[in-house]
Amino acid sequence: MLPAPEDAIWFDGISARRQPVVVEVSPDLAALRFGGQVWPVARLRRIDGDGLVLAQLVDGGDELPHDPARLLLAEGALAAWVRARAPQLERRDLRRGTGAKIAGRVALAAAALGLILFVFLPRISDLLADQLPMEQEVAFGQAVMGQIESFLGEDRALTCTAPEGVAALEKMERRLTEGQGLTYDIELRVFDHEMLNAFAAPGGQVVILRGLLDEAQSAEEVAGVLAHEIGHVEARDPTRLAFRSAGSAGIIALVLGDVTGGTVIGLLGDHMLSASYTREAEAAADAFAFDLLQRTGIGTEGLATFFERIAGMGMEVPEILATHPDSGNRAEAARRAAGAAAAPVLTDAEWQALRRICG
């Protein structure tokens, strides 16, 4: 049933003139004809709008492969005929190769982000960290320490101050640092917190948490852990880590939509606590510790014993073990380093005093 010719508006895609035309269906029912134009029905596509707005599928075309020309039909018999007869009126065509294009772009974006996060950022943050003057690094470390203290202690002061304990701690500090030619002025302290952990902040601050003192069986074990942390300090590992987290926080902020980056500094303290240094940094800190323990005559036996015991406990892993699933090997390595103990670090009375430093 052939619909009668109808009045319509044609925009030719070349000028903005409104062109009234009379549209008729071709005798073979395969095309619309108007004003010298022939639009095959199979190529008709509907455009959003009132009435029936038609465009033609073409090879080149715009964002969608449509010709810019438009034909406006009022709702009526002809529009109904087109809706019934045009097979792909509602089809949203894609250009050839679109799938490959999407896959390519997604892969490219993922690769670029990976490159930024894992190659570019670490390099540039290490570079910046290495250029930080030492006195600023120390000031920065003190601020980070303040953050961690208020984070752990919920705004209660945590540093333990029992006089005999502090004296024992100072003795241990002298034994580990005096005459060793360290770059940083190491500052030791104990936080009153049950977590089994010890960590280093930028600029020479090293903290033992009470949980570690409770667990350790001798002063040599504690000294071993401290030597490892001093290794991190001397290698500037905490400072690098802080810079890296600051950089990636920028990206995290982007993903979360917080472009002001105000959360960065607040997050740093948390990062220090659960510090995950690279395997190489841990290995270097171990090597530093073995060497230091040997030179100071403390010996590596204490550290080896500590590694073994903690590894067997299967509890929340402190930083010192975090990136080393294979602690048994480290104990062996410590024994192989074979610094024999020349003299005990602390007397038995001093060791007991240190364990009671938090009162």
């Binding site: 409104r18 964002e63 601020a143 002001t260």
Partner: protein
């Protein structure tokens, strides 16, 4: 206002809530299911719908942009932004820790505030850049009578000017805001084309001051409050501050509406086509208040519908296994996101759309016979679509 001549055409927005709401809700839910990926396609669908309802005379606009190009543009922008933000963040951090961690406490707080402000300022040029690009993309994908609109590639120049005028505005405590509004709009209008015909912004920046008057009154009151406060009457000062703030805020709405009217009425297109816009402040405010009430009412009902079943499941949750508790928590989050989607759709339909309708319906196009001689322009590839604006999450309602 002169009566419409033969060659005058009214702009008209014919959208209605019943058609837009199912669409907005549908694309919102799809966006939720696809973890946000669908939002680009959703935006394209909503724009196609809304553009198709906007008519000048008998002819509707057409939006030809696609979700795909917006998605790809977003991907590109995220990568660029990642580099930029990471580097800026690092540099700010490495400069920042030299004063942020100053021993003195008050200094520390001040410096911290400054460094946060700085990291915002670092993003500001990008946001301005993105705003220009976004407008250019929308114009490049808008058709009227089959002819493309377009805007020149000039976003960098726009950023420089916008930052300059922004500094001027801040330094003059906002007094030169109309200068910024006018010059920036003129910059964009002068680079806008319909086919081969160029637009031009007429009028002058001083012409915006009548529109800005109420903001100035608000500022004067606050200034007075400072004087009175120094003079030692805190009660009067507080009253003046409150009054000045309210006056200024309403003044801002007045300014937005009247500035639109002034700028629109002084735009013209080559060939003698012009505009005449008469939006009414009262109508805009009332539309907003009415819309907000409807959204609150329907949103309240929706939250009941969504959360009632969730709450009924919560009975006895404490005794349930951990897995069940976890499932319940996920269900709660999903319900919450669904409610946000419903609110988004409602405010689009009952606030944004009616306000758009009011502004559009207030515009008359004069000298429309100029349209007949406009010729087509070449397509604008616009490789990044409006990806930067999407990545910075700064899209408007439409």
């Amino acid at each position: 206002m002169q009566p419409p001549a033969r060659s005058d055409l009214w702009a008209e927005y014919r959208g209605d809530a019943a058609k837009l709401f199912p669409l907005a809700l549908g694309v919102g839910v799809l966006g939720l299911i696809t973890l946000g990926i669908y939002r680009f396609w959703g935006k394209a669908r909503i724009r196609r719908h809304v553009w198709g309802k906007l008519r000048v005379g008998d002819d509707a606009l057409e939006f030809t942009g696609t979700g795909l190009e917006m998605f790809l543009g977003f991907l590109m922008a995220v990568v660029m932004l990642a580099v930029y933000l990471a580097v800026v963040q690092l540099i700010l951090f490495s400069v920042g820790i030299r004063f942020v961690f100053d021993p003195q406490n008050e200094m520390e707080e001040l410096a911290q505030a400054v460094s946060i402000l700085l990291s915002f300022v670092a993003v500001l040029p990008l946001m301005i850049f993105a705003a220009y690009r976004s407008r250019r993309y929308k114009l490049a994908r808008t058709r009227f009578r089959g002819i493309r609109f377009g805007m020149e590639k000039a976003a960098s120049g726009y950023v420089v000017r916008a930052l300059g005028y922004l500094v001027l505005t801040v330094l003059t405590l906002g007094l030169l805001w109309p200068l910024m509004t006018f010059r920036l709009e003129a910059y964009m209008t002068g680079r806008t084309w319909y086919g081969g015909a160029r637009f031009r912004q007429g009028g002058s920046w001083t012409g915006l001051y009548p529109a800005y008057l109420h903001v100035i009154w608000g500022m004067v009151l606050i200034g007075l409050a400072v004087l009175v406060g120094i003079g030692g009457s805190p009660g009067v000062a507080t009253f003046l501050v409150v009054a000045g703030t309210i006056w200024g805020l309403i003044g801002l709405v007045v300014y937005r509406v009247r500035a639109f009217a002034y700028l629109m009425s002084h735009k013209e297109m080559e060939g003698g086509l012009g505009f005449w816009a008469t939006p009414r402040v009262g109508a805009v405010i009332w539309t907003y208040v009415k819309g907000a009430l409807i959204v609150a009412l329907l949103g309240g009902i929706a939250s009941g519908v969504i959360f009632a079943p969730v709450a009924s499941l919560a009975v006895g949750i404490e005794e349930a296994s951990e897995l069940v508790q976890l499932e319940f928590a996920v269900l709660g989050v999903v319900a919450y996101l669904l409610l946000l989607t419903v609110f988004g759709a409602l405010s689009l339909v009952f606030i944004s759309q009616p306000i758009l309708a009011h502004f559009v319906n207030s515009v008359m196009v004069t000298g429309a016979e100029a349209l007949d001689s406009v010729r087509q322009r070449v397509a604008d590839g616009g490789a990044d679509a409006e990806g930067l604006a999407d990545a910075l999450d700064m899209g408007g309602a439409f």
